[in-house]
Symmetry: C3
Subunit: 131 residues, 3 copies
Amino acid sequence: MIAVSVKTRERKEMIDVTAELARAVSEAGMKKGLVLAYVPHTTAGVTINENADPAVPRDILTALSKLVPERGDYRHGEGNSDAHIQAGLVGSSASVIVDQGRLALGTWQSVFFCEFDGPRTRKLLIKLMPG
Amino acid sequence: MIAVSVKTRERKEMIDVTAELARAVSEAGMKKGLVLAYVPHTTAGVTINENADPAVPRDILTALSKLVPERGDYRHGEGNSDAHIQAGLVGSSASVIVDQGRLALGTWQSVFFCEFDGPRTRKLLIKLMPG
Amino acid sequence: MIAVSVKTRERKEMIDVTAELARAVSEAGMKKGLVLAYVPHTTAGVTINENADPAVPRDILTALSKLVPERGDYRHGEGNSDAHIQAGLVGSSASVIVDQGRLALGTWQSVFFCEFDGPRTRKLLIKLMPG
Protein backbone atom coordinates (compact mmCIF):
# COMPACT_ATOMS: atom_id res chain seq x y z
CA MET A 1 0.00 0.00 0.00
CA ILE A 2 1.32 3.41 -1.01
CA ALA A 3 0.09 6.65 0.58
CA VAL A 4 0.25 9.80 -1.53
CA SER A 5 -0.40 13.29 -0.23
CA VAL A 6 -2.90 15.42 -2.17
CA LYS A 7 -3.20 19.14 -1.50
CA THR A 8 -6.52 20.66 -2.51
CA ARG A 9 -7.09 24.38 -2.99
CA GLU A 10 -10.85 24.74 -3.36
CA ARG A 11 -13.89 23.55 -1.42
CA LYS A 12 -14.91 21.45 -4.47
CA GLU A 13 -12.14 20.27 -6.75
CA MET A 14 -11.16 17.32 -8.93
CA ILE A 15 -7.44 16.61 -9.07
CA ASP A 16 -5.98 14.30 -11.70
CA VAL A 17 -3.97 11.55 -9.95
CA THR A 18 -3.42 9.28 -12.97
CA ALA A 19 0.33 9.96 -12.92
CA GLU A 20 0.56 8.84 -9.27
CA LEU A 21 -1.12 5.54 -10.14
CA ALA A 22 1.06 5.03 -13.21
CA ARG A 23 4.19 5.72 -11.15
CA ALA A 24 3.18 3.19 -8.46
CA VAL A 25 2.66 0.51 -11.13
CA SER A 26 5.92 1.23 -12.93
CA GLU A 27 8.04 1.51 -9.75
CA ALA A 28 6.70 -1.86 -8.58
CA GLY A 29 7.35 -3.36 -12.01
CA MET A 30 3.84 -4.81 -11.99
CA LYS A 31 2.90 -6.27 -15.37
CA LYS A 32 -0.68 -7.47 -14.85
CA GLY A 33 -3.40 -7.07 -12.25
CA LEU A 34 -5.49 -4.37 -10.66
CA VAL A 35 -4.70 -1.08 -8.99
CA LEU A 36 -7.13 0.39 -6.48
CA ALA A 37 -7.16 4.13 -5.80
CA TYR A 38 -8.74 4.59 -2.36
CA VAL A 39 -9.60 7.71 -0.38
CA PRO A 40 -9.52 7.26 3.44
CA HIS A 41 -11.83 10.26 3.93
CA THR A 42 -15.61 10.67 4.24
CA THR A 43 -15.90 14.00 2.39
CA ALA A 44 -13.80 13.07 -0.65
CA GLY A 45 -14.00 10.42 -3.35
CA VAL A 46 -12.41 8.91 -6.43
CA THR A 47 -13.82 8.85 -9.93
CA ILE A 48 -12.71 8.23 -13.51
CA ASN A 49 -13.65 10.68 -16.25
CA GLU A 50 -12.31 12.97 -18.96
CA ASN A 51 -9.66 15.57 -18.27
CA ALA A 52 -8.75 16.56 -21.85
CA ASP A 53 -11.35 19.32 -21.54
CA PRO A 54 -11.23 20.83 -18.02
CA ALA A 55 -14.90 21.77 -18.52
CA VAL A 56 -15.79 18.11 -17.86
CA PRO A 57 -14.66 17.99 -14.20
CA ARG A 58 -16.12 21.50 -13.79
CA ASP A 59 -19.50 20.28 -15.11
CA ILE A 60 -19.40 17.23 -12.83
CA LEU A 61 -18.75 19.36 -9.74
CA THR A 62 -21.43 21.86 -10.73
CA ALA A 63 -23.97 19.09 -11.26
CA LEU A 64 -23.12 17.46 -7.91
CA SER A 65 -23.58 20.82 -6.16
CA LYS A 66 -26.92 21.30 -7.86
CA LEU A 67 -28.09 17.79 -6.90
CA VAL A 68 -26.82 18.15 -3.33
CA PRO A 69 -26.65 21.83 -2.36
CA GLU A 70 -24.44 23.11 0.46
CA ARG A 71 -27.49 24.18 2.45
CA GLY A 72 -30.43 21.86 2.91
CA ASP A 73 -32.41 19.73 5.33
CA TYR A 74 -29.29 18.41 7.07
CA ARG A 75 -28.74 17.48 10.72
CA HIS A 76 -24.99 16.82 10.76
CA GLY A 77 -23.57 19.68 12.80
CA GLU A 78 -20.40 20.39 10.88
CA GLY A 79 -22.07 22.05 7.91
CA ASN A 80 -20.52 19.68 5.38
CA SER A 81 -23.33 17.19 4.83
CA ASP A 82 -23.28 18.01 1.14
CA ALA A 83 -19.69 16.74 1.02
CA HIS A 84 -20.54 13.46 2.78
CA ILE A 85 -23.46 12.86 0.41
CA GLN A 86 -21.45 13.75 -2.72
CA ALA A 87 -18.71 11.36 -1.55
CA GLY A 88 -21.39 8.67 -1.27
CA LEU A 89 -22.57 9.31 -4.83
CA VAL A 90 -19.07 9.23 -6.32
CA GLY A 91 -17.63 6.41 -4.18
CA SER A 92 -14.47 6.09 -2.13
CA SER A 93 -12.41 4.09 -4.61
CA ALA A 94 -11.87 3.22 -8.26
CA SER A 95 -10.28 0.13 -9.79
CA VAL A 96 -8.09 0.22 -12.89
CA ILE A 97 -6.82 -2.80 -14.82
CA VAL A 98 -3.06 -3.13 -15.36
CA ASP A 99 -2.01 -4.84 -18.57
CA GLN A 100 1.47 -5.13 -20.13
CA GLY A 101 2.82 -2.98 -17.32
CA ARG A 102 0.46 -0.07 -18.02
CA LEU A 103 -2.86 1.28 -16.78
CA ALA A 104 -5.54 0.01 -19.18
CA LEU A 105 -7.39 3.33 -19.22
CA GLY A 106 -9.45 4.47 -22.18
CA THR A 107 -8.10 7.25 -24.40
CA TRP A 108 -10.06 9.94 -22.56
CA GLN A 109 -9.94 8.51 -19.04
CA SER A 110 -8.16 10.09 -16.10
CA VAL A 111 -8.40 9.09 -12.45
CA PHE A 112 -9.49 11.96 -10.20
CA PHE A 113 -9.25 12.62 -6.49
CA CYS A 114 -12.54 14.42 -5.73
CA GLU A 115 -12.42 17.01 -2.95
CA PHE A 116 -15.84 17.97 -1.63
CA ASP A 117 -14.89 19.83 1.58
CA GLY A 118 -11.54 21.49 1.01
CA PRO A 119 -9.15 23.03 0.92
CA ARG A 120 -7.22 20.43 2.91
CA THR A 121 -4.19 18.20 2.77
CA ARG A 122 -5.55 14.76 1.97
CA LYS A 123 -4.30 11.23 1.49
CA LEU A 124 -4.77 8.89 -1.43
CA LEU A 125 -4.02 5.19 -0.87
CA ILE A 126 -2.84 3.10 -3.84
CA LYS A 127 -3.02 -0.67 -3.61
CA LEU A 128 -1.47 -2.95 -6.24
CA MET A 129 -2.95 -6.40 -6.74
CA PRO A 130 -0.82 -8.41 -9.21
CA GLY A 131 -2.66 -11.21 -10.97
CA MET B 1 -16.45 -16.09 0.36
CA ILE B 2 -18.27 -15.46 3.63
CA ALA B 3 -22.03 -14.77 3.78
CA VAL B 4 -23.30 -12.69 6.68
CA SER B 5 -26.95 -12.16 7.52
CA VAL B 6 -28.12 -8.56 7.96
CA LYS B 7 -31.52 -7.81 9.50
CA THR B 8 -32.92 -4.41 8.59
CA ARG B 9 -35.74 -2.71 10.51
CA GLU B 10 -36.69 0.28 8.36
CA ARG B 11 -37.54 0.83 4.70
CA LYS B 12 -34.40 2.99 4.37
CA GLU B 13 -31.54 2.24 6.73
CA MET B 14 -27.74 2.22 6.82
CA ILE B 15 -26.23 -0.49 9.01
CA ASP B 16 -22.57 -0.39 10.02
CA VAL B 17 -20.93 -3.67 8.99
CA THR B 18 -17.30 -2.67 9.60
CA ALA B 19 -16.98 -5.15 12.48
CA GLU B 20 -18.11 -8.03 10.21
CA LEU B 21 -15.39 -7.15 7.69
CA ALA B 22 -12.74 -6.79 10.39
CA ARG B 23 -13.73 -10.15 11.85
CA ALA B 24 -13.49 -11.89 8.45
CA VAL B 25 -9.99 -10.48 7.95
CA SER B 26 -8.76 -11.40 11.44
CA GLU B 27 -10.30 -14.90 11.44
CA ALA B 28 -8.60 -15.62 8.10
CA GLY B 29 -5.31 -14.22 9.41
CA MET B 30 -5.00 -12.15 6.25
CA LYS B 31 -2.16 -9.64 6.50
CA LYS B 32 -2.32 -7.77 3.16
CA GLY B 33 -4.74 -7.48 0.27
CA LEU B 34 -8.26 -6.34 -0.45
CA VAL B 35 -11.62 -7.12 1.06
CA LEU B 36 -14.77 -6.69 -1.01
CA ALA B 37 -18.13 -6.13 0.69
CA TYR B 38 -20.80 -7.16 -1.82
CA VAL B 39 -24.59 -7.06 -1.66
CA PRO B 40 -26.36 -9.75 -3.75
CA HIS B 41 -29.56 -7.66 -3.89
CA THR B 42 -30.94 -5.11 -6.34
CA THR B 43 -32.59 -2.82 -3.79
CA ALA B 44 -29.66 -2.52 -1.38
CA GLY B 45 -26.08 -1.29 -1.65
CA VAL B 46 -22.77 -0.77 0.12
CA THR B 47 -21.08 2.53 0.89
CA ILE B 48 -18.30 3.94 3.06
CA ASN B 49 -18.91 7.06 5.12
CA GLU B 50 -18.90 8.51 8.64
CA ASN B 51 -20.73 6.87 11.52
CA ALA B 52 -19.28 8.87 14.45
CA ASP B 53 -22.26 11.20 14.05
CA PRO B 54 -25.42 9.20 13.22
CA ALA B 55 -26.73 12.35 11.52
CA VAL B 56 -24.41 11.58 8.57
CA PRO B 57 -26.13 8.33 7.46
CA ARG B 58 -29.48 10.03 8.22
CA ASP B 59 -28.54 12.94 5.93
CA ILE B 60 -27.38 10.56 3.18
CA LEU B 61 -30.67 8.61 3.26
CA THR B 62 -32.72 11.82 3.33
CA ALA B 63 -30.81 13.22 0.35
CA LEU B 64 -31.22 9.98 -1.63
CA SER B 65 -34.97 10.04 -0.96
CA LYS B 66 -35.15 13.64 -2.11
CA LEU B 67 -33.18 12.90 -5.29
CA VAL B 68 -35.19 9.74 -6.02
CA PRO B 69 -38.62 9.95 -4.37
CA GLU B 70 -40.71 6.88 -3.57
CA ARG B 71 -43.40 7.97 -6.01
CA GLY B 72 -42.48 9.14 -9.49
CA ASP B 73 -42.61 8.38 -13.20
CA TYR B 74 -41.83 4.68 -12.70
CA ARG B 75 -43.01 1.64 -14.66
CA HIS B 76 -41.64 -1.20 -12.52
CA GLY B 77 -44.73 -2.81 -11.00
CA GLU B 78 -43.46 -3.57 -7.51
CA GLY B 79 -43.51 0.01 -6.25
CA ASN B 80 -39.85 -0.02 -5.24
CA SER B 81 -38.21 1.64 -8.24
CA ASP B 82 -36.77 4.28 -5.91
CA ALA B 83 -34.86 1.50 -4.15
CA HIS B 84 -33.46 0.07 -7.40
CA ILE B 85 -32.32 3.52 -8.51
CA GLN B 86 -30.80 4.41 -5.13
CA ALA B 87 -28.94 1.09 -5.18
CA GLY B 88 -27.57 2.07 -8.58
CA LEU B 89 -26.34 5.44 -7.27
CA VAL B 90 -24.64 3.94 -4.22
CA GLY B 91 -23.27 0.78 -5.85
CA SER B 92 -23.44 -2.90 -4.95
CA SER B 93 -19.97 -3.24 -3.43
CA ALA B 94 -17.11 -1.44 -1.73
CA SER B 95 -13.43 -2.37 -1.62
CA VAL B 96 -11.24 -1.82 1.45
CA ILE B 97 -7.47 -2.25 1.58
CA VAL B 98 -6.03 -4.63 4.20
CA ASP B 99 -2.61 -3.71 5.56
CA GLN B 100 -0.70 -5.19 8.51
CA GLY B 101 -3.67 -7.42 9.23
CA ARG B 102 -6.13 -4.54 9.58
CA LEU B 103 -8.68 -2.66 7.47
CA ALA B 104 -6.93 0.47 6.15
CA LEU B 105 -9.97 2.68 6.76
CA GLY B 106 -9.67 6.38 7.48
CA THR B 107 -10.33 7.63 11.02
CA TRP B 108 -13.95 8.50 10.27
CA GLN B 109 -14.77 5.72 7.82
CA SER B 110 -17.27 2.93 8.42
CA VAL B 111 -18.59 0.43 5.89
CA PHE B 112 -22.38 0.48 5.62
CA PHE B 113 -24.95 -1.96 4.30
CA CYS B 114 -27.57 0.32 2.70
CA GLU B 115 -31.15 -0.91 2.86
CA PHE B 116 -33.47 0.85 0.42
CA ASP B 117 -36.52 -1.44 0.49
CA GLY B 118 -36.73 -2.98 3.94
CA PRO B 119 -37.36 -4.20 6.44
CA ARG B 120 -35.95 -7.54 5.31
CA THR B 121 -33.41 -10.18 6.18
CA ARG B 122 -30.54 -9.58 3.78
CA LYS B 123 -27.18 -11.09 2.91
CA LEU B 124 -23.79 -9.45 2.75
CA LEU B 125 -21.00 -11.32 0.94
CA ILE B 126 -17.42 -10.74 2.06
CA LYS B 127 -14.59 -11.76 -0.25
CA LEU B 128 -10.95 -11.71 0.85
CA MET B 129 -8.27 -11.24 -1.79
CA PRO B 130 -4.80 -11.65 -0.25
CA GLY B 131 -1.99 -9.96 -2.13
CA MET C 1 -7.73 -9.00 -19.73
CA ILE C 2 -10.50 -9.70 -22.22
CA ALA C 3 -12.00 -7.00 -24.45
CA VAL C 4 -15.59 -7.45 -25.58
CA SER C 5 -17.33 -5.28 -28.17
CA VAL C 6 -20.71 -3.82 -27.19
CA LYS C 7 -22.94 -2.24 -29.82
CA THR C 8 -25.47 0.23 -28.44
CA ARG C 9 -28.54 1.40 -30.34
CA GLU C 10 -29.93 4.27 -28.26
CA ARG C 11 -28.49 7.42 -26.71
CA LYS C 12 -29.29 6.01 -23.26
CA GLU C 13 -29.35 2.25 -22.91
CA MET C 14 -28.53 -0.50 -20.44
CA ILE C 15 -27.24 -3.72 -22.00
CA ASP C 16 -27.04 -6.94 -19.99
CA VAL C 17 -23.47 -8.28 -20.17
CA THR C 18 -23.78 -10.97 -17.49
CA ALA C 19 -23.35 -13.74 -20.07
CA GLU C 20 -20.06 -12.21 -21.28
CA LEU C 21 -18.70 -12.24 -17.72
CA ALA C 22 -19.90 -15.78 -17.09
CA ARG C 23 -18.28 -16.94 -20.33
CA ALA C 24 -14.94 -15.33 -19.43
CA VAL C 25 -14.96 -17.09 -16.06
CA SER C 26 -15.91 -20.48 -17.48
CA GLU C 27 -13.48 -20.34 -20.44
CA ALA C 28 -10.64 -19.52 -18.04
CA GLY C 29 -11.73 -22.33 -15.71
CA MET C 30 -11.52 -19.92 -12.79
CA LYS C 31 -12.99 -21.41 -9.63
CA LYS C 32 -12.63 -18.60 -7.06
CA GLY C 33 -11.78 -14.91 -7.09
CA LEU C 34 -13.09 -11.67 -8.46
CA VAL C 35 -14.11 -10.50 -11.90
CA LEU C 36 -14.02 -6.81 -12.75
CA ALA C 37 -16.20 -5.42 -15.54
CA TYR C 38 -14.58 -2.15 -16.65
CA VAL C 39 -15.64 0.43 -19.22
CA PRO C 40 -12.74 2.35 -20.86
CA HIS C 41 -15.05 5.24 -21.78
CA THR C 42 -16.03 8.51 -20.08
CA THR C 43 -19.67 8.60 -21.19
CA ALA C 44 -20.58 5.02 -20.25
CA GLY C 45 -20.56 3.00 -17.04
CA VAL C 46 -21.21 -0.37 -15.43
CA THR C 47 -23.85 -1.19 -12.84
CA ILE C 48 -25.54 -4.20 -11.28
CA ASN C 49 -29.32 -4.31 -11.00
CA GLU C 50 -32.45 -6.25 -11.94
CA ASN C 51 -33.21 -7.31 -15.50
CA ALA C 52 -36.09 -9.73 -14.87
CA ASP C 53 -38.41 -6.76 -15.39
CA PRO C 54 -37.10 -4.52 -18.22
CA ALA C 55 -38.95 -1.65 -16.51
CA VAL C 56 -36.13 -1.53 -13.92
CA PRO C 57 -33.34 -0.45 -16.30
CA ARG C 58 -35.87 1.87 -17.99
CA ASP C 59 -36.68 3.48 -14.62
CA ILE C 60 -32.97 3.85 -13.79
CA LEU C 61 -32.24 5.60 -17.10
CA THR C 62 -35.31 7.84 -16.75
CA ALA C 63 -34.30 8.83 -13.21
CA LEU C 64 -30.71 9.58 -14.29
CA SER C 65 -31.99 11.77 -17.12
CA LYS C 66 -34.25 13.62 -14.69
CA LEU C 67 -31.41 14.14 -12.19
CA VAL C 68 -28.97 15.19 -14.92
CA PRO C 69 -30.86 16.58 -17.93
CA GLU C 70 -29.37 16.71 -21.41
CA ARG C 71 -29.47 20.51 -21.41
CA GLY C 72 -28.22 22.48 -18.44
CA ASP C 73 -25.55 24.82 -17.11
CA TYR C 74 -22.73 22.95 -18.86
CA ARG C 75 -19.49 24.27 -20.34
CA HIS C 76 -18.14 21.14 -22.07
CA GLY C 77 -18.44 21.89 -25.76
CA GLU C 78 -19.50 18.49 -27.08
CA GLY C 79 -23.06 18.62 -25.76
CA ASN C 80 -22.74 15.39 -23.81
CA SER C 81 -22.00 16.68 -20.31
CA ASP C 82 -25.06 14.82 -19.03
CA ALA C 83 -23.41 11.57 -20.17
CA HIS C 84 -20.11 12.36 -18.41
CA ILE C 85 -21.96 13.20 -15.18
CA GLN C 86 -24.22 10.13 -15.35
CA ALA C 87 -21.12 7.96 -15.91
CA GLY C 88 -19.68 9.51 -12.75
CA LEU C 89 -22.78 8.66 -10.74
CA VAL C 90 -22.92 5.06 -11.93
CA GLY C 91 -19.17 4.33 -11.94
CA SER C 92 -16.82 2.91 -14.51
CA SER C 93 -16.58 -0.63 -13.14
CA ALA C 94 -18.31 -3.30 -11.08
CA SER C 95 -16.78 -6.22 -9.16
CA VAL C 96 -18.43 -9.63 -8.92
CA ILE C 97 -17.30 -12.49 -6.68
CA VAL C 98 -16.56 -15.84 -8.33
CA ASP C 99 -17.27 -18.91 -6.19
CA GLN C 100 -17.31 -22.59 -7.20
CA GLY C 101 -16.62 -21.56 -10.78
CA ARG C 102 -19.67 -19.30 -11.02
CA LEU C 103 -20.57 -15.62 -10.65
CA ALA C 104 -21.90 -15.17 -7.10
CA LEU C 105 -24.70 -12.84 -8.24
CA GLY C 106 -27.97 -12.54 -6.34
CA THR C 107 -31.10 -14.09 -7.85
CA TRP C 108 -32.23 -10.82 -9.44
CA GLN C 109 -28.82 -9.36 -10.30
CA SER C 110 -27.54 -8.73 -13.80
CA VAL C 111 -24.43 -6.80 -14.81
CA PHE C 112 -25.20 -3.94 -17.21
CA PHE C 113 -23.12 -1.90 -19.61
CA CYS C 114 -24.63 1.59 -19.33
CA GLU C 115 -24.58 3.70 -22.49
CA PHE C 116 -25.15 7.39 -21.85
CA ASP C 117 -24.09 8.89 -25.20
CA GLY C 118 -24.87 6.36 -27.89
CA PRO C 119 -25.45 4.84 -30.22
CA ARG C 120 -21.84 3.71 -30.57
CA THR C 121 -19.64 0.65 -30.75
CA ARG C 122 -18.09 0.38 -27.30
CA LYS C 123 -15.62 -1.80 -25.44
CA LEU C 124 -16.05 -3.67 -22.18
CA LEU C 125 -12.91 -4.93 -20.45
CA ILE C 126 -13.15 -8.03 -18.28
CA LYS C 127 -10.39 -8.77 -15.80
CA LEU C 128 -10.21 -12.06 -13.87
CA MET C 129 -8.45 -12.07 -10.50
CA PRO C 130 -8.20 -15.62 -9.17
CA GLY C 131 -7.82 -15.89 -5.41
